[in-house]
């Protein structure tokens, strides 16, 4: 059954996204993914997995809509969407500018709405599966930048609203909540903060992108009755 799935991974060249691309392709899905920077990595990933890479600026709604138009025109409109793209940020409240706020929300929040709108409009009655990702920063009381935290908790709210709205059309929308994964946006973490995460998390370690990808892939391919839910891949933080 999974060999018929048409998957689109937003942020597919990222630290977690590339593992999701690999896992979905290995499970037999036809995978397309987006990247913004890292053309060489994306080319390698595409060659390795058979997935198709699309350079797409997720901060630009027109770019996202054009991608869906392209896939639709090729009779390859996805029925499985993973949003693994994220822009992280640091800084105190006093340092957040209107421009920083808007830039972060464009990728982390607005692209979710734009992609979901395009995705849902092109399902044509097919069931669909959507997995969004969010960092723990928006959900738990941990020291983080306010503009970043706002975007991550927005994804939780969107997961729940989208699950309710699209459930009657047999579209499931869930969120995988990610803790420190030893790379990706964790790379920007203060080493002392990372040490705290290890110390205070129940499993006392950071995770791996593969661990995150396994949860995302399971939800994307093998879930029928879970929607609006959260899978916390956080090591017990």
């Amino acid at each position: 059954m999974t060999d018929a799935r048409l998957a689109l991974v937003l942020g597919g060249s990222g630290y977690v996204g590339r593992e999701v691309v690999r896992a979905l392709a290995a499970a037999g899905a036809r995978v397309a993914f987006t990247y913004q920077r890292g053309a060489a990595l994306s080319e390698t990933l595409a060659a390795e997995t058979g997935a198709r890479a699309f350079q797409t600026n997720l901060a630009e709604p027109a770019s996202i809509r054009a991608l869906f138009d392209t896939l639709h025109a090729e009779d390859a409109a996805p029925d499985l969407l993973v949003h693994a793209a994220v822009v992280s940020g640091t800084g105190a409240l006093a340092d957040v500018t209107d421009a920083l706020w808007d830039e972060m929300h464009a990728v982390n929040v607005r692209s979710v709405y734009v992609a979901m709108q395009s995705f849902a409009a092109r399902l044509g009655g097919r069931p669909g599966d959507v997995v969004l990702t969010a960092a723990l920063d928006g959900i738990a009381k941990i020291p983080t930048a306010v503009h970043f935290a706002a975007t991550q908790s927005a994804r939780l709210g969107m997961t729940q609203a989208l699950a309710k709205e699209l459930g009657p059309k047999d579209v499931r929308v869930n969120l995988v909540l990610l803790g420190a994964l030893g790379g990706g946006i964790s790379e920007g973490l203060d080493p002392a903060r990372l040490a705290d995460y290890k110390r205070y998390s129940a499993l006392q370690r950071v995770g791996t992108p593969g661990e995150a990808a396994r949860a995302i892939t399971r939800l994307a391919l093998h879930n029928r009755w879970m929607t609006g839910s959260v899978l916390p891949i956080t090591g017990g933080l």
């Binding site: 129940a202 661990e211 949860a215 879970m226 891949i233």
Partner: protein
Amino acid sequence: MSGRLAGKRCLVTGGSRNLGRAIALAFAREGARVAFTYHTREDAAEETRALLEAAGASPLVLKGSVSDAAHVAAAVKAVETAYGGIDVLVNNAALTQVLPIALLEEAEWDAAMDTNVKGPYLFSRAALKSMIRAKKGHILNVGSFGADRVLDAPVHYAASKAALVGFSLALAKEIGRYGIAVNCLVPGLLETGLSARLPKHRVESYVAQAALGRLGTVEEVADLAAWLVSDENSFMTGGQVVIDGGL
């Protein structure tokens, strides 16, 4: 035997019927060695045994109350003796009565707490020795959508399942250092089990409110349970995983 749980030594409490049976079967199909407990329904337990054997498993079937410490000790010892240890414990056994608080007797309150909270404590404590020695393991506690929402649920049942969440969180923190994960699986209303005892309008209300517009099946929840206790799920602990059709 191949499968997601190949070689895993699993103990499921309350495995004779409904979700517990489905979990035992899902585990067996994924290659696990499965033991299950039951309390009163010997006929149902034998049916489950037959289903497991038909799936190629050779189950251990253990009779007793989860709130009886002697039964718990004997059951865990039997599994350890037969399998050499325990990798997965599913605290599924639970009881409830659909009653308003005014009609709820103190003995019913105590019985729910004994089965739904003390049982998981006794079984976890007993099974942990083997897991800590192995420095790995999964404990999966079966919660309820009534535990943390404003819903029509019997108060003793809701209170006991909320207690189970606190138990899961604290235990996850305490034993995470040994590489043991503790998670709480929170199913919504399923076609099999409690829904048969609810008034029709309550079931219809659930279906109307759930985004996916239907009750779940024990198989759907059991498949998730099998993934949650597998090696594929290696960085989740203290999680509450809700599968409720989008209620």
